[in-house]
């Protein structure tokens, strides 16, 4: 197992280098001149433009810019944006917001999704099953932007249960955006769990467990659920990776200063160093959580081994 993890981690290095170059090239290929756009309608003084272009190596060809960027990176210098703010500061400021939002969203997604899925799965075609089917279809089909504004209007403005925007009230501020963000995935988790549970309930080992006279609770939780969770864990693991990439819409609607907004702004401003720094971090998260999922398989299903 240890060697497997080490090998997988080593493999992330070429992935990260490849991804960072790709992103760097994409930002480079964006049309327009980021320095020109800095000043808005009013053009900057020519010497100031020259100074900024020089400072950020914008006159160099792509490969040289990348080499210079990587050279600085290896010395621990992540660079700055065009406003002189270090990229690391931006990450340090926005990452905790995104982590909190992800934790809240994943908690909703896992707890509500799995419980609803199991309840629907053990009584297939029953009343609860239909309720879950209808409500999850409904939630999946509503765009998150609409969901966000409606939730904000109803629960924030009309009822006043939750803060409308911002992160002033600590974890409490994350509940509503977390729920909105989780809504879509939550429905998937419920459907996935339901199908998986319903299928496993007809499996041979469950029949055996029932025949042994085990209590129903033990059969469902210990035998069925554990086996049914493998596809669900895969989905949630991948979802953590996605959510860590920041949720631009949710962050904007609820005014959360997270990674998603930071990278969105950076792309708009063609801030190469910022985009590459943050997106490479996102790639790392994605790879890491996929690895974690693979490791979890072995825990859930002892038949799976990595040697």
């Amino acid at each position: 197992m240890g060697r497997y993890i080490a090998r997988r981690l080593l493999l992330t290095i070429p992935v990260l280098i490849g991804a960072s170059f790709l992103i760097f090239a994409l930002v480079y290929a964006l049309p327009g001149d980021p320095i020109r756009a800095l000043g808005g309608d009013r053009p900057l003084a020519p010497a100031v433009v020259a100074q900024l272009r020089d400072e950020f190596n914008l006159n160099d060809p792509l490969w040289l810019q990348y080499v210079k960027y990587m050279g600085d990176l290896l010395q621990g210098d992540f660079g700055t944006d065009f406003r002189g703010r270090p990229v690391l500061d931006t990450v340090e400021r926005t990452l905790p917001v995104t982590i909190r939002l992800t934790i809240v969203a994943i908690a909703f997604e896992a707890v509500i999704g799995i419980v609803a899925g199991v309840l629907a799965g053990i009584r297939r075609n029953g009343f609860l099953d239909n309720v879950v089917l209808v409500s999850s279809t409904l939630v999946v089909s509503i765009p998150i932007l609409v969901l966000g504004f409606v939730a904000q209007f109803v629960f924030g403005l009309q009822f006043g249960w939750f803060p409308i925007a911002g992160i002033q009230e600590g974890w409490y501020s994350y509940l509503l955006p977390g729920l909105v963000l989780a809504a879509g995935s939550l429905a998937y988790v419920a459907r996935l769990t339901r199908t998986s549970v319903a299928e496993n309930l007809r499996a041979d080992f469950v029949r055996t467990a029932k025949a042994k006279g085990l209590p129903r609770r033990t059969v469902v939780v210990r035998h069925t659920l554990r086996n049914s969770l493998i596809p669900v864990v895969t989905f949630i693991g991948a979802d953590i990776g996605t959510l860590m990439g920041g949720a631009i819409v949710t962050e904007t609607v609820f005014n959360l200063p997270g990674l998603g907004r930071a990278v969105f702004d950076a792309i708009q401003g063609q801030e190469g160093a910022v985009v590459v720094g943050i997106v490479t971090l996102m790639v790392f998260f994605f790879v890491f959580f996929n690895l974690a999922v693979d490791v979890l398989y072995a825990v859930l299903d002892p038949r799976i081994r990595y040697d």
């Binding site: 964006l30 049309p31 327009g32 001149d33 980021p34 020109r36 756009a37 800095l38 000043g39 808005g40 309608d41 009013r42 053009p43 900057l44 003084a45 020519p46 010497a47 100031v48 433009v49 020259a50 100074q51 900024l52 272009r53 020089d54 400072e55 006159n59 406003r83 002189g84 703010r85 931006t90 400021r93 926005t94 932007l145 609409v146 966000g148 504004f149 409606v150 904000q152 209007f153 924030g156 403005l157 009309q158 006043g160 803060p163 409308i164 925007a165 911002g166 992160i167 819409v249 962050e251 904007t252 609607v253 609820f254 005014n255 200063p257 907004r261 930071a262 702004d265 708009q268 063609q270």
Partner: protein
């Protein structure tokens, strides 16, 4: 000009969501409980105001946009101040700014002004700040504002043909700035400019304390100013900060509120919802979709004021089809500005009827002969000029700024009234749009906006249409160049008195009104709203809220 965030706001607004909100909006949740923080305990109280993310660290010489300006103008006081209507008032640091020849200006400071760190505001504080702003290796965005001071060129690093910096500037201080004593300095301009005192209230000209030069980076998040409020905590990007009243303020009017929270919102719709719920006190800009119901909901807490902002369609005068002034006059007369404004903006814009905006001294209402709808005359002018109507014209605007609707509406009127087809060219982002304008690459009328840096007609004439304002470095994207116009502007610049200068700029405007290098389309109206927790909320001609005058109930 300062990049107005209004367009940026439109980009970020999830239009669907905003429509949804205004649709549900009418309902009377008008609890209006105190917002922000403690309400009216202690003296003065505290209130919150929305801003968009300032583009740059909070350094006066590096701030050329509206959001940073709103914050900085509460933390700093310049040589002069502007009234809400844009008149120059000597309530700032300067006792007087005088010149015998409009070229060499003697600035005398008042005694007793201090920075928030306790050090006095001296002549050196201004001279050092302006030199810092002009010195090109500092890459300050307002550098161009100092370009009319003698010796500015010596502070610009040399570049080769490809635009690479090839060395250091020959000087670090402009020869035109001389400190006479602690409270006096002289400014020598490269060319006479009678309205120089009007310009120095802009944030580029704020003084900076010695502590700034030791660590400009730290001062970008924790600015040390001399204004009615002081920063006591660091500005957090994406969130904002709270500033507190500076009790040792050198000005006549101390701030009314005890403290103010500048809160950064990414989306103005969210700010509006927070205002409705009573979590926010002042919303300086409004989401477009809220306008339909806002008067019912906010009553006299919905504010409107004329602003310096204009929207216009510039002509590529280098393009053969638009080289004839008669063609340019014709298109300007071929659409109904009021109808477009009513249909699309619900009062946020008014028809433009001059080149010099209404908030500036020297504006003459209705002076633009060709800004009135007159289909017959427009067609006649096109015929006289021999304009080829079989070819469609291209209408350009920048993508994502919310300009599609009104440009298209104007296009439709061109088609209907002149029989000229149009195609919309609105797919370039600003970063691509500007360089294209700068290289003279557009093929038809193009959208641009302008808002003033200082309330002078010079800002609406020379800065846009002068030969000196040709790109690169200037905003004359129309490549309009008329020696007669330039001469009149020069004459006005070197006038002996303000009145004479204004009369001169008006003469220059008269030439523009015939040559029509642009189609003036709209004057912008600032629209704000506030909660019941505050009163005395005033919008000034720069579109800023007069933060120091706001009282907490």
């Amino acid at each position: 000009m300062r990049l107005s965030k209004r367009s940026a706001v439109l980009i970020a607004t999830g239009v669907t969501g905003a429509m949804l909100l205004s649709a549900c909006g009418g309902g009377g949740d008008d609890s209006g409980s105190g917002a922000g923080g403690g309400g009216s305990d202690g003296d003065g109280g505290t209130f919150s105001i929305m801003i968009n993310e300032p583009e740059n660290p909070l350094i006066p010489t590096n701030t050329a946009e509206s959001e940073g300006h709103q914050v900085l103008s509460t933390l700093f006081t310049g040589l002069i101040e502007y009234s809400a209507e844009g008149e120059v008032q000597y309530t700032g640091v300067a006792e007087s700014i005088e010149s015998p020849d409009s070229t060499t200006w003697t600035v005398t400071l008042k005694d007793g002004w201090n920075f928030h760190d306790g050090t006095p505001v001296t002549a050196q504080s201004f001279v050092d700040a302006w030199n810092y702003g002009a010195y090109s290796p500092n890459a300050q965005q307002t550098s161009g504002f100092f370009s009319n001071i003698q010796g500015y060129a010596d502070l610009q690093a040399p570049t080769d043909a490809a635009g690479n910096v090839t060395g250091d500037p020959v000087a670090t201080e402009m020869s035109g700035l001389q400190v006479v004593d602690d409270l006096t300095f002289t400014v020598t301009l490269a060319a006479p400019f009678a309205q120089f005192p009007i310009t120095v209230g802009y944030n580029a000209f704020y003084p900076l304390p010695e502590a700034f030069f030791e660590d400009p980076e730290a001062a970008g998040t924790l600015p040390i100013g001399n204004g009615p409020f002081q920063a006591t905590e660091e500005f957090v990007p994406g969130q904002g900060f709270t500033v507190t009243r500076y009790d040792d303020y050198g000005g006549e009017e101390p701030a009314k509120a005890e403290s103010v929270e500048f809160r950064v919102y990414a989306d103005v719709s969210t700010g509006y919802t927070d205002l409705q719920a009573g979590n926010l006190d002042v919303l300086p800009d409004l989401p477009p979709d809220a306008l339909a119901s806002i008067e019912d909901e906010f009553g006299d807490r919905f504010l409107q004021a004329p602003s310096s902002g204009t929207q216009f369609l510039g002509y590529p005068t280098y393009d053969a089809r638009f080289a004839d002034p008669r063609v340019r006059q014709a298109f300007s007369m071929a659409f109904d500005r009021q109808a477009v404004a009513d249909a699309i903006f619900a009062g946020a814009y008014e028809p433009a009827d001059s080149y010099i905006a209404p908030v500036v001294e020297g504006h003459r209402p209705g002076i633009c002969e060709y800004c009135e709808l007159d289909v017959e005359r427009a067609n006649q002018l096109l015929d006289e000029a021999g304009f080829d109507r079989s070819q469609p014209i291209e209408l350009w605007f920048d993508a994502g700024g919310g300009h599609d609707a009104w440009v298209e509406a104007i296009g439709n009127q061109f088609r209907e009234n002149l029989g000229v087809e149009y195609t919309l060219r609105g797919d370039l982002e600003f970063a691509e749009y500007l360089p294209l304008l700068e290289s003279g690459g557009v093929t038809g009328p193009f959208r641009l906006g302008w808002s003033m840096d200082y309330p002078s007609p010079q800002n609406y004439t020379e800065k846009l249409f002068g030969t000196t304002a040709l790109p690169p470095g200037g905003s004359n994207y129309f490549f309009y160049s008329n020696p007669e116009f330039d001469a009149l502007v020069q004459q006005a610049n070197s006038a002996a008195s303000n009145e004479e200068a204004i009369a001169g700029y008006q003469q220059a405007e008269d030439i523009l009104l015939q040559d029509m290098p642009i189609i003036p389309v709209f004057f912008q109206v600032e629209q704000s709203a506030h909660s019941e927790a505050v009163s005395d909320v005033v919008i000034d001609v720069f579109g800023d809220i007069r933060v120091a005058e706001v009282t907490v109930n």
